[in-house]
């Protein structure tokens, strides 16, 4: 494992260094003393594992294609922006606009997430992006979602906020959202409906959550014991009647 001390290093030099060692074949990197540096793992390809100590800055793992990034603390906004494959594990909370237009790979967040998480997520056949957050989420969760899976667990229920904010799944036209707990129809966009998960859904959930629980040392059966709701779009063409031809 290669250790890079990020203390006082400008993001451009830090990321240059990471790209350089990855291109030379390094498979495991520890970034120490990270303090808000942007774009870590941006556009990075390959099967490298990067562990981050400290709080990384915005756009972590943007366009990333393959690597695994473990963040031991909180993380900021725009993680996994248009990410193609790979995995990001955040042991704390994460910020807004996570997984915007995400095309594949996984984001596992232990705590709460902010606004506009999983918006515009894509999906095609076997390429299914997955975001799992252990806490609560802000407004616009899964807005314009076209594919992939969003799972929100509310494991700790530390405050009396709703599990999600307003405009849940607004404009959604593909993919699936699972929420562990009750969903208020009033918070949902007009384009989605709330269902009880069927047997196949539970099997899918179990698959995703087994990996999630392993990442955070959680008990899978405890997590699965909650009552899940499934949210899917009512139409592939939510705005199909908007126009006159």
């Amino acid at each position: 494992m290669l250790t890079i001390d990020a203390k006082g290093v400008y993001y451009r030099e830090l990321n240059q260094k990471v790209r350089e060692v990855v291109s030379k074949g390094e498979k495991e990197i520890l970034l120490k003393n990270v303090n808000g540096q942007y774009y870590i793992g941006d556009g990075l390809q390959g099967d490298v594992k990067i562990t981050i100590e400290g709080v990384p800055g915005n756009d972590l793992a943007a366009f990333m294609d393959g690597p695994t990034i473990i963040i031991k603390a909180n993380a900021q906004d725009n993680i996994g922006n248009t990410m193609n494959s790979g995995k990001v594990v955040v042991h704390g909370n994460a910020g807004d606009v996570l997984g915007y237009g995400m095309r594949g790979g996984k984001l596992h967040i232990r705590g709460d997430v902010g606004y506009r998480v999983g918006i515009h997520m894509k999906g095609y056949k076997k390429q299914i992006p997955v975001i799992i957050a252990g806490g609560k989420a802000g407004d616009f969760f899964g807005e314009y979602m076209a594919g992939g899976v969003l799972i929100l667990l509310n494991l700790d229920n530390r405050d009396d906020r709703h599990i999600t904010g307003d405009y849940l799944g607004t404009g959604m036209h593909g993919g699936t959202i699972f929420i562990r707990g009750n969903v208020d129809k009033g918070l949902c966009g007009a384009e989605v409906s709330i269902h009880e998960p069927i047997k196949d859904d539970i099997a899918v959930l179990k698959g995703y959550l087994a990996e999630y629980c392993a990442d955070f040392n959680l008990n899978l059966s405890d997590v699965m014991s909650g009552c899940f709701k499934k949210i899917i779009p009512t139409s592939l063409r939510p705005y199909g009647n908007l126009y006159a031809y």
Partner: protein
């Protein structure tokens, strides 16, 4: 019983004496205007859009497509389309869509601008005999150049040049996505761009694998839908463009109708087949110049700072201040699309009433960037209704580095600007995904026509430069002294930074 009170726009007629019942019109029409009755061709004129495919493919010249002589009663205030759109909305409750650039009779400022020429006291140049440089480079230019002595004792450039896109002539093909246009139309653009030494732009629909080989002649686009964007895509061309807005629909998002999303488009965009491809108005990670900077540098990081990043905006009231912000956010190219710019689908109410013309916008942006001393920091691309090499020369003289051509390029492929791109029925195989229609557009054949047209425009541009007595298109850029206005008011002349003819 009536079918619809929406008056047909056109009247398709067949001369039954000339008609030999070959049924080519039935085969060729993408809109199903024609059908076979058993002994003659029947016409459903309600469906006709005057794309003229049938006219060109009728071997007997038996077909005529007339403007429908039946009009609503003449009224200087309530025009044909005012009444027609209301009837359409009464029947559907929907927003009338349209395609191509606005056809409203707003004044076209290009038609009030005239270019200078040399006479007696300053010599013109004959481009047929003397070298004439149309080559230009898009990208950030250093504020100053430093030189140092090399090991061989010769002076060499010390300043590291930012990445540039080399254009053999100051034209690029405007972004038109796979989905809005057919793969064959994109291939036609790619083949022509390669042959001409210029670039095409993927638009926001991702990059089909068939276009990847043209990597030296592609700008890839990233828009709010993020269709088909991954690290390979970002590095697949010579530049990356962030699309914020489009001249035909400033401030509103893209909406590719589900009719144009078959398997291959769905795969390239990674969305369900038959869904509407939504690109909402804002990019939801961009709410400020600072956010834009974050995405510009996210792209630069992902492409190792090796490619210029362009930001495309619609020309709107505050375009100069916005462009300044974009340059300060780190963009290498600012692409400005005037309100007459084309589209595959836009609500006609938006297309015809929002934005400002490209002439005003380019003049204002060039002025502003010069005043702030940052004009060298980015190249400017002008787009939105460039109809000829003269329009191109005029907009370059107003301050653009290069011009983007969309509609004119499609016209070489058979387009007649019928404006029905959003239906997915294009009989010429351009703005459709139906295989029986797209097969009509042979990229090898039509790229040759497109190359011909650009060659012709290049020759014309050289003639204009020769007449101006200059031998490089870069000498024309922002050279407003070489333009004069005819019939323009003092304020417009001031905005354009030009004198009236006679001064």
């Amino acid at each position: 019983m009536f079918r619809s009170l929406v008056l047909p726009e056109f009247l398709a007629k067949i001369d039954q004496v000339k008609c030999i019942r070959c049924k080519r019109c039935i085969q060729n029409c993408g809109w199903s205007v024609y059908s076979w009755s058993g002994d003659k061709v029947l016409i459903d004129t309600f469906k006709c859009v005057k794309c003229l495919r049938c006219y060109h493919y009728c071997p007997e010249e038996a077909i005529a497509i007339l403007d429908n002589p039946v009009r609503y009663r003449n009224n200087a205030n309530w025009g044909f389309y005012n009444i027609r759109n209301i009837k359409k909305q009464a029947e559907t409750g929907g927003i009338p869509l349209t395609g191509m650039g606005s056809d409203m009779p707003y004044p076209v400022l290009f038609d009030s601008l005239l270019i200078d020429a040399c006479q007696v006291t300053n010599p013109s140049i004959d481009p047929l005999r003397e070298p004439m440089e149309l080559r230009t480079y898009l990208g950030k230019k250093p504020a100053k150049l430093e030189f140092e002595k090399g090991k061989d004792g010769k002076q060499k450039l010390k300043t590291k040049m930012p990445p540039q896109i080399k254009l053999e002539m100051p034209f690029i093909f405007a972004p038109m996505s796979y989905g809005s246009i057919s793969l064959n139309a994109q291939k036609t653009l790619a083949i022509a761009a390669k042959e001409l030494g210029i670039v095409m732009n993927t638009g926001e629909g991702g990059l089909h694998e068939d276009i990847y080989p043209y990597r030296d002649n592609i700008i890839v686009q990233v828009a709010s839908g993020r269709f088909g964007v991954n690290p390979d895509y970002l590095n697949a061309g010579v530049g990356v463009e962030i699309k914020i807005g489009q001249g035909a629909k400033p401030g509103i998002g893209g909406h590719l109708p589900g009719e144009k999303i078959p398997l291959d488009v769905a795969k390239t965009r990674m969305i369900p087949i038959g869904t509407d491809a939504l690109s909402p108005a804002p990019q939801h990670d961009i709410y400020s110049i600072e956010d834009l900077r974050q995405l510009i540098f996210a792209i630069k990081e992902a492409t190792d700072y090796a490619k210029p990043v362009s930001v495309k905006i619609a020309a709107v009231h505050n375009v100069a201040a916005i462009a300044s912000g974009i340059v300060r956010a780190g963009a290498d190219i600012v692409y400005i699309d005037g309100f007459r710019g084309g589209t595959g689908a836009a609500p006609s109410i938006i297309r015809d009433h929002l934005g400002i013309p490209i002439e005003h916008a380019i003049a204002a942006v060039d002025d502003r960037l010069r005043q702030e001393g940052i004009r060298n920091e980015a190249s400017i691309i002008a787009a939105g209704g460039i109809r000829s090499s003269a329009d191109a020369a005029k907009v370059i003289a107003l301050g653009a580095d290069a011009v983007a051509l969309g509609t004119s390029a499609l016209i070489t492929m058979g387009c007649t600007v019928c404006g029905k791109c959003y239906t997915g029925n294009c009989s010429w195989g351009i703005t459709t995904q139906k295989p029986e229609l797209t097969v009509r557009l042979d990229p090898e054949v039509y790229s040759e026509r497109l190359i011909n047209m650009i060659h012709a425009w290049s020759h014309e541009l050289k003639e204009i430069l020769g007449a101006l007595g200059i031998n490089a298109v870069e000498s024309l850029r922002g050279s407003r002294e070489r333009l004069r206005g005819v019939g323009l008011d003092a304020q417009t002349l001031d905005i354009l930074g030009i004198k009236p003819a006679g001064r």
